[in-house]
Subunit: 498 residues, 4 copies
Amino acid sequence: MAGVAEPRPLGLEEERCNMAIRSPDEFRESLRDNRRVFMNGELVEDVTTHPILKVNTETAAGDFLLTHSEDPAVRDLFVASHPETGEPISRYFLPPHTSEDLEKRLEMIGQSIRLTGGLPFGKDVGTDAMYAIMTTAQRMGKPEYLERAQSYLEHLRKNDLNLCGAITDVKGDRGKPPAQQTHPDYYLHIVDQNKDGIVVRGAKIHITAAPAANDILVLPTRQMRENESEYSVAFAIPANAKGITMVCRPSRGERSPSEFPAGLPVRGLVEAMIIFDDVLVPWERVFMCGEWQFSMLLAYTFATYHRFTAVSYKIPIVELLAGCAVAMAEMNGVERVGHIRAKLVEIAAYVETLKALATAAIKSPVMHGDLAVPNLLITNMGKLHFASHYHEIIKLVQDIAGGIISTMPTYKDWQNEELHKPLEHYLGGSSKYTTEERLRMIALTHRMVASAESAHMEVVTVHGEGSMEAQRMMISVESPFKEYRNLALTAAGVPPRG
Amino acid sequence: MAGVAEPRPLGLEEERCNMAIRSPDEFRESLRDNRRVFMNGELVEDVTTHPILKVNTETAAGDFLLTHSEDPAVRDLFVASHPETGEPISRYFLPPHTSEDLEKRLEMIGQSIRLTGGLPFGKDVGTDAMYAIMTTAQRMGKPEYLERAQSYLEHLRKNDLNLCGAITDVKGDRGKPPAQQTHPDYYLHIVDQNKDGIVVRGAKIHITAAPAANDILVLPTRQMRENESEYSVAFAIPANAKGITMVCRPSRGERSPSEFPAGLPVRGLVEAMIIFDDVLVPWERVFMCGEWQFSMLLAYTFATYHRFTAVSYKIPIVELLAGCAVAMAEMNGVERVGHIRAKLVEIAAYVETLKALATAAIKSPVMHGDLAVPNLLITNMGKLHFASHYHEIIKLVQDIAGGIISTMPTYKDWQNEELHKPLEHYLGGSSKYTTEERLRMIALTHRMVASAESAHMEVVTVHGEGSMEAQRMMISVESPFKEYRNLALTAAGVPPRG
Amino acid sequence: MAGVAEPRPLGLEEERCNMAIRSPDEFRESLRDNRRVFMNGELVEDVTTHPILKVNTETAAGDFLLTHSEDPAVRDLFVASHPETGEPISRYFLPPHTSEDLEKRLEMIGQSIRLTGGLPFGKDVGTDAMYAIMTTAQRMGKPEYLERAQSYLEHLRKNDLNLCGAITDVKGDRGKPPAQQTHPDYYLHIVDQNKDGIVVRGAKIHITAAPAANDILVLPTRQMRENESEYSVAFAIPANAKGITMVCRPSRGERSPSEFPAGLPVRGLVEAMIIFDDVLVPWERVFMCGEWQFSMLLAYTFATYHRFTAVSYKIPIVELLAGCAVAMAEMNGVERVGHIRAKLVEIAAYVETLKALATAAIKSPVMHGDLAVPNLLITNMGKLHFASHYHEIIKLVQDIAGGIISTMPTYKDWQNEELHKPLEHYLGGSSKYTTEERLRMIALTHRMVASAESAHMEVVTVHGEGSMEAQRMMISVESPFKEYRNLALTAAGVPPRG
Amino acid sequence: MAGVAEPRPLGLEEERCNMAIRSPDEFRESLRDNRRVFMNGELVEDVTTHPILKVNTETAAGDFLLTHSEDPAVRDLFVASHPETGEPISRYFLPPHTSEDLEKRLEMIGQSIRLTGGLPFGKDVGTDAMYAIMTTAQRMGKPEYLERAQSYLEHLRKNDLNLCGAITDVKGDRGKPPAQQTHPDYYLHIVDQNKDGIVVRGAKIHITAAPAANDILVLPTRQMRENESEYSVAFAIPANAKGITMVCRPSRGERSPSEFPAGLPVRGLVEAMIIFDDVLVPWERVFMCGEWQFSMLLAYTFATYHRFTAVSYKIPIVELLAGCAVAMAEMNGVERVGHIRAKLVEIAAYVETLKALATAAIKSPVMHGDLAVPNLLITNMGKLHFASHYHEIIKLVQDIAGGIISTMPTYKDWQNEELHKPLEHYLGGSSKYTTEERLRMIALTHRMVASAESAHMEVVTVHGEGSMEAQRMMISVESPFKEYRNLALTAAGVPPRG
């Protein structure tokens, strides 16, 4: 790819065949492309070296580490063969056709976190969007959409691109639909179109990991109505395209000298607002352009795929939360106390119910043509399960771990010559662990349940992949209420009706 | 079977080959066997005609209706081929070897209720016990146990017997183990043994549907310790064996003239206390005799099979509950009101989570030899799920349905000439239904959530198949706490340990 | 009062002065007045002797027992001095002017239940309505209403009348207001008026204890709108007035021989539907006649007084529930087990929070003129507290008590010669109590949490005094949302606005 | 006070009379006393100027601002007259004798936060300890303890000292009592005593605001047993006494340029671990020295006073939380949406129940001699109420506010010339507020529910003033279980027993 500072050309011909599995360095290099990224009021020169954005980049780079893993089992999980050419491609770029394919996605996401220490968010959300686009394209009755989608998938495979999904509009007054707002830009919309493509304007928020994406996939945030066709738009666009600006929320950078060392590097994702200032999208990357009737199918199918992704990435996170609780109970010497045991059981039931719901969602997928969508009802229940009980679980972990997760001395105190000895003397717990081991576990638990990161994770849990009301709405739509009712009418001796 | 008033002989030779699938009448006839059954202080002459016990008998007889169904799909579900002889036998008597076999059991139990209006409790609980016995027998290292179990299974197949499971001891002071009670009989135990068999004494309570069982399967109620070998006993015995007395709790009888008619007959099961007054059990029916080391395996495996049965029979019940809520919301004209909608979604999520957990339990069974046991952890979570939220769901249904489910006039009021017209005038709801249709649905909902039966069902939900603490204990044992902990230790940079 | 079979005259002059505190027999006698009461399709001849209605009558008669108590402390609580004449009157007929007066009402209701075994529902709900009428009359700007109310209060005092409150209309399609229903009678309304009074038609449901009321107080069930003035009507009427019919739901009668004896007589209230078939109400008993603007004040003030009454009567009931849990834990020998202890603490916190909310509601009343209304916000929170957690508490009591509360043998079994000895042998628990004591406690607990009565009480808890949504609506209206918001705006540096 | 660098003399004679109400500057000056305070491994030179500790100091200084308020109503609340001399003293130093006195404490704490923006933690916790000491001293039968306590109270009054309460020991292996730990120092204990006083060793953790205290009050963390008399010790000691070291957890400092401005200054408290390295405590400041029999009374009475303080300071905090929810709902334009309204009602009920419990605790105090202790049972229920539901409320506020509280741009972005206009364009909400107003409210809400501070507050809510199990234990002790039980036994016809 010549000239990283130039917007990447969309044409596919000249691309190198052996790019299909990029190395982490190739990935990092690809992000030095003149993208316009701000943080804290300043334009970021290089998202791979910026003290905060570097963490985001390296977290995303985890995916490229896995496809180059020396462990064949790992490589086999993350690398698949192109269905036609047989060339190695990222498994994310294989559309799911069966329960087994969905199970692989679940496993990939779980293992990504377990092996790299954080979620390399990108191809997962990107293909959630991509397969929703393909599902919808099959139904729209315009062959060009399906062709474009397939051609774009080929582009992704060949260039091994990292993605982000830009869904949530800024929305303005949420009590009003797009067309009744004080200005028309609160939802991203088409402001012009010409022979080259469409021109779009608007802003998308909560775009996780956006500064590490090569391409941005844009979808409507919700079902659109008849008079909202200008808002019914879906497309892909390189992150460095003209008119695109990202404003990133600062998050934590590398581990500071005050923090206790840990077994895994710092991982974390940045949230961005992406402003589209009259951006030209070439026709070959436009997947919906006014077909409001299909906006619901697109939004719902994306939501389902993406909530399944959310269930997948939450599993290792809540397993780790459970682990903090168990380890802290042991280190405090209370792992056999009745009420502690009861709390550990509650945490385990939370974790294992989530895993069971994932299993059940996989085992009864909905087929759209040859695309397997995880069971809509169960997937939404899975997301609602983890979101609605998450704070309670955080409370239990805080309760078991003890106040020290929020009052502990820093690693600098620990290293201070005068303080080291008394701290070692006084901050011990169960004799099965050293004081330093206990402090390291306290530090991890602090991060998981008592830090800026944990507070952010609470919000992500509530709002990520749609708020709980969004899941309730889909449960309302998908539940067999009429079947329930007819059972009852029949039992009561009342003839069922429509 | 000559002389129904005589205890049934255990020998298999003289039994009729074509008995394998008994008719409902053959089943009813088999219960007229001089069994000693009391209700309300009086000896019951015939459990098939007694005004209350008749309902219990007919509910159990539902199973025999299904195996004789004229619908081939139903018959195929409930009738299987003997694995060796190919003769038709009840499918309950086929031990589960695969996920598919477990799924069949789920389906049989669900369909039993949907088709007959109530649970024909008997072969399900009986084979839960039987397969736990077989699982344990495989491990005990004494070939005679496995032979006896297989021979008894053959006996069940050939005679198409209905069963009950007698597990729960009366327990006395629950703060004390069997051997420290004020008398030794609070847990059923062996008081003697001779060449013919063992002699047992004790009492089992909460034995559902016992008066409709041909044979009783007796298992220890929990893990026994070293000094409790006399309490480590399992066996089968005909319900009319000498020394056996059943004391039954009265429950409702046939529909009274005050009750509105319904679409299904009255169904319900009776709870019995079974007293074993020095009962002789022939050796060929003894499946555990002192091997306390295996009491835990036996108790846990039975508990798991049986909680899976519980999940199976709860599904149609809670679907019907959900149906009452939907129908009442419609009939009251409030099905679109926001808070009603939210409550319906909560009910649906409860029902569908139960179904999803059943699916997940089936999909990841534990194999004991060639016997498939539903996943222990998920099955226990399924039982805990329905039991711990059941009262909340009852509250929601009561809330949606309105106070009238508890204050409605009777069918006799409805039929009274003077009252009929004003009742019809005043008790209408949504115009989609007639007043009588609404009253029939109110009557059904009354039965489901506001009656003696519904209160009993609450208690059954809490205590049936073991209380919630019993499930929590198994979740505590089965959850991967060490794996969780090691994940956390590793992330914290602390070496995992044993 | 000559001629009980005649409608009671409204004139006050000829009434005997010493009637002010009636005896239980005078009360019973007063109900033999040709009232038209149906149960199970049959006209009831005498509500004081009918096998089921007798229980309702005797429960109501409890109030008259208390005013004649030989214990001066009890008499002093229930009997007060007429504020002008000094004559003894029921304390219920003294309007509350202070926190202390409200505290007295709380105490009266609590002690009624503790001393008589059941709630003598009547004067409490009646004066809840009466003081709401007086509060509203003060605001309506028509002196005749206040005069009528005061005159009627004097009538109540002099005749020591028992009352019921008829509030809830049948409502038809709840999605539609009164005027849009398929007929105009789904809400009680004025169909005519003349020099003698108004003529009303409609039906009220869920009227607790109605067959034991001398007079019926009728209020609108909710706020009425401008076009609903015919529905904005409040009045008092004797229960035997022409055109009034009560249809009563059968409930339990006297203790049957199957039931274990108890320490207190059977108490219980009947629910009635009252049909008003063009009933003439004399002007002197009309308290609202079309003034829809005041319907909200009337409905809300009644709701608050009445929910405070509900909190008052729930306290002894939930104390008794808690007592069943404690006693059963002791009798089962598990009162020191960790999870049992935790459940008992949860039950106690439920009970004591209810009591604390009652205290707080009393301590910060709202004054309407010289009438003290319990704090609206806290009273509604109190009702919501007990209703929203009640089923959870029932579950805990069921859990602690054990399945035997639903499977126990009957008193007839216990008395059977053959069964008595084995039952005594096998059904013992902790040696601190005899088997019979344990069985009596099991029987009480059965009644409280596992019977037709307990299921009915669940529904009453949800719907009595308005459903939980009604409380949430009042909490929404009464909470200081604007104050909260202004605190936050100020803290954020944003000027508060209207 | 000459020589702030020297430990402050304990003698009272030479102290200035007009010191009784110190100015904020006098308070700040008093903290420059050579106290040994560490943060992040470095010795802090001056806790009034250190970038982080300054916030802690200024938060504590709020109390001195209030006693010097120009608003007479504020001054009257915070300043009282010395009961004997009539001199002005801090009202905290007046022991509560009545409900009204307790109400004043509630009001003082609430107003402190509302007026200064944060809790000036110090005299509240200090006098919680002081009045627990006095309560215990009255019972111990050794007049010197009461004299010392009174003399020390006089000292506090005359010098207007700020305090901290050092209660929680480091505890080591929590499964073991003090005497069985791997070393004896896991609980603070007496290592020597001589004519001057006692010598103590140990470490106390979670000591809120300690670096801003003049004196430290040390109490046992729990009931001590017979063999734990060396651990049964209570005393006061100046914070700069020889042998005392504080290790402080870094918390946030002043508002950074990235943060949006707010209406109130940054407030916050630091948590410290205090190490006592063989500290000499003069006899006149020793309030318990081995009397283990009274350790429970001391610990429980302190816990009750302090949990009442906690209830008091939580009220304005949760009101502010509620305000964020209301304001964000308005700003997002969703304040009338059904599910949002339901969530606001849930939040309001949480807040108002807390206030009602505080009212009830005040209205039924327990008298220890002439000291009024807030009702133990209700106070503990109040603490448990706010702690057990807090995370749920945080979830609701996060849910209502939207994901933007965690992804919003910084103030520096807002001030950036290129970004300002698009941010203003895109981040507007309801037209009732400007975009900047909305962003300020989002920033406040971020701080309250999505920041390091909010995560810390969750932990404080769980563990501050004792964990929820501690409250459950006291509810278990204080609830009238026997009265409940006797009610039930009586109703069942079983004689109550001991």
